[in-house]
């Protein structure tokens, strides 16, 4: 379970998040809807300690990880907690210099698996996201935006995480691919029994796949009684 209380973050005078309380129950698909620039990406990065929050506590499986973010000597501990989380970045963030297979292998790096075992996992994850074996040897520059997203999802689930974070998983993709990814998010959450945290401004996606929904507006999170119109986000 992820539990957050009183989270705030600002960048040199610019306030982005303030006094955020949040909870994601195990196994749920939790959506955070917010317009562009509202701080969705910053929120996800704070949970992982990629950005250090100014105030607040973040509990992942009962453990407050904010103290781990500031002291270098806790880096190893923080690393272990990060490994419970798979992160699908907004721009996919595949390493340009590595093939698809090597990108997925990175997620397994710390496990020191034998080569065959690693290969088996790579094939398995690619199949799970519906990509065939041909893409293994391709480089990110040779893939379409949608395929990159799928590879990024394969990489995020490779190490068997308990949580998957999706940052705008369907934005800038054509409707067919967006639908495919929507289905995949639901399917993975059920098959792998992971907790999914999805930040997006795609209302349709939230309607189709969301179980718990938050709005991120005016630096803070609120729970609407129901999602009716997109405009609510922009009021």
């Amino acid at each position: 379970m992820i539990k957050i209380s009183g989270l705030s973050k600002c960048f040199s005078q610019q306030k982005v998040l303030e006094g955020i309380d949040f909870e994601a129950q195990d196994g749920r698909r939790v959506f955070i809807l917010g317009k562009s620039g509202s701080g969705k990406t910053v929120f996800l990065k704070c949970i992982l300690g990629l950005l250090v929050p100014d105030t607040g506590k973040i509990f992942i499986d009962e453990m407050d990880i904010t103290p781990l973010m500031v002291k270098p000597r806790f880096k190893r501990k923080l690393t272990r907690i990060r490994q419970k989380i798979g992160y699908v970045f907004q721009g996919s963030a595949l390493l340009d210099s590595l093939s698809v297979a090597d990108n997925i292998a990175l997620a397994l790096d710390s496990k020191n698996l034998p080569w065959e075992e690693q290969n088996r996992i790579i094939d398995e994850k690619l199949e799970m996201v519906g990509l065939d074996g041909d893409v293994r040897r391709k480089y990110p520059a040779q893939l379409s935006g949608g395929m990159k997203k799928l590879v990024a999802i394969a990489r995020a689930i490779a190490a068997g995480p308990a949580y998957i974070f999706y940052d705008e998983p369907t934005t800038a993709l054509d409707p067919a691919v967006a639908t495919r990814i929507t289905k995949l998010i639901i399917e993975l959450s059920e098959r792998l029994e992971v907790t999914s945290l999805i930040v997006t401004h795609d209302m349709g996606l939230a309607r189709r796949a969301g179980q718990d929904i938050y709005f991120l507006k005016n630096y803070t999170l609120s729970r609407p009684r129901r999602i009716t119109r997109l405009e609510e986000l922009y009021e």
């Binding site: 690393t79 272990r80 990060r82 989380i85 992160y87 963030a93 390493l95 790096d109």
Partner: protein, 243 residues
């Protein structure tokens, strides 16, 4: 300025903390050696030929009438070995490779590739920075040795063609006056040039700020700083060895 310096030193020390990690993955370093070497070979070959030619020309111009011709080999060759080849090659590597390293890492930073490594539990400084620093320490000396050879040959040939110094005389002069100390004095500093270039380039890459100008700004700062530090190091070595 002092804060920057402190952060840079700390960063470099942290990078070397990943030695164990990199030693278990020597491929990371080999890949960088290959990339950095291959990037620089064309420009270094080209520059070495011209360095050799211009040195021969300048030395023969400065020698007074009556000085034996083999002095073109003696002084020209020695200057190449001690000073010109190491310094010019190091600066060229900064321009060609250092800028490339900073741009590459800066791009990885702004496209969240470095964040991605960190979330997968990989220390991005160990994984990215250290292999590049180690490769630079190896590649710069090798390139300087390569350049020494090419530029000496070019110097000998152009001494013959342009100012009519027979090649055997050039070689005689070189052999007679160039000492092992000269060669070592020229080569000893090159791993430090490599260390300076590699560590500064990755440091500025990692410092890249988000936004469109971020990468460009880092590259400029990286090239200027590397070049300055290399010249300072060069002077320190000269002062210490040849005073």
């Amino acid at each position: 300025m002092v804060r920057q310096l402190g952060r840079y030193v700390l960063f470099t020390l942290r990078a070397f903390g990943g030695m164990g990690y990199v030693l278990r993955r020597p491929k990371l370093v080999l890949k960088q050696v290959y990339t950095l070497g291959l990037l620089s070979l064309p420009v270094i070959s080209f520059a070495s030929i011209f360095l050799g030619m211009v040195t021969a020309l300048m030395v023969s111009y400065q020698l007074e009438a009556g000085v034996p011709k083999f002095y073109v080999g003696a002084t020209g060759g020695r200057s190449l070995l001690i000073e010109i080849a190491p310094l010019v090659i190091a600066l060229l590597v900064v321009a060609r490779v250092g800028s490339n390293i900073t741009a590459r890492i800066g791009t990885m930073k702004v496209t969240e590739q470095i964040d991605a490594l960190e979330t997968m539990g990989i220390n991005s400084v160990h994984y990215l920075a250290l292999p590049i620093i180690l490769a630079s320490i190896v590649v710069v000396p090798v390139l300087v040795i390569y350049s020494d050879l090419i530029s000496l040959v070019a110097a000998a040939v152009s001494a013959k063609v342009i100012v009519n110094v027979p090649i055997p005389q050039y070689i005689f002069g070189l052999k007679r006056y160039a000492t092992l100390n000269d060669v070592l004095g020229g080569l000893l500093k090159t791993p430090f040039f490599g260390l300076a270039m590699g560590s500064i380039s990755v440091y500025y890459g990692f410092q890249t700020e988000l936004g469109a100008e971020g990468v460009g700004k880092s590259v400029t700062a990286s090239v200027v700083t590397s070049a300055a530090l290399i010249m300072i190091l060069d002077f320190i070595v000269a002062f210490w060895m040849f005073r």
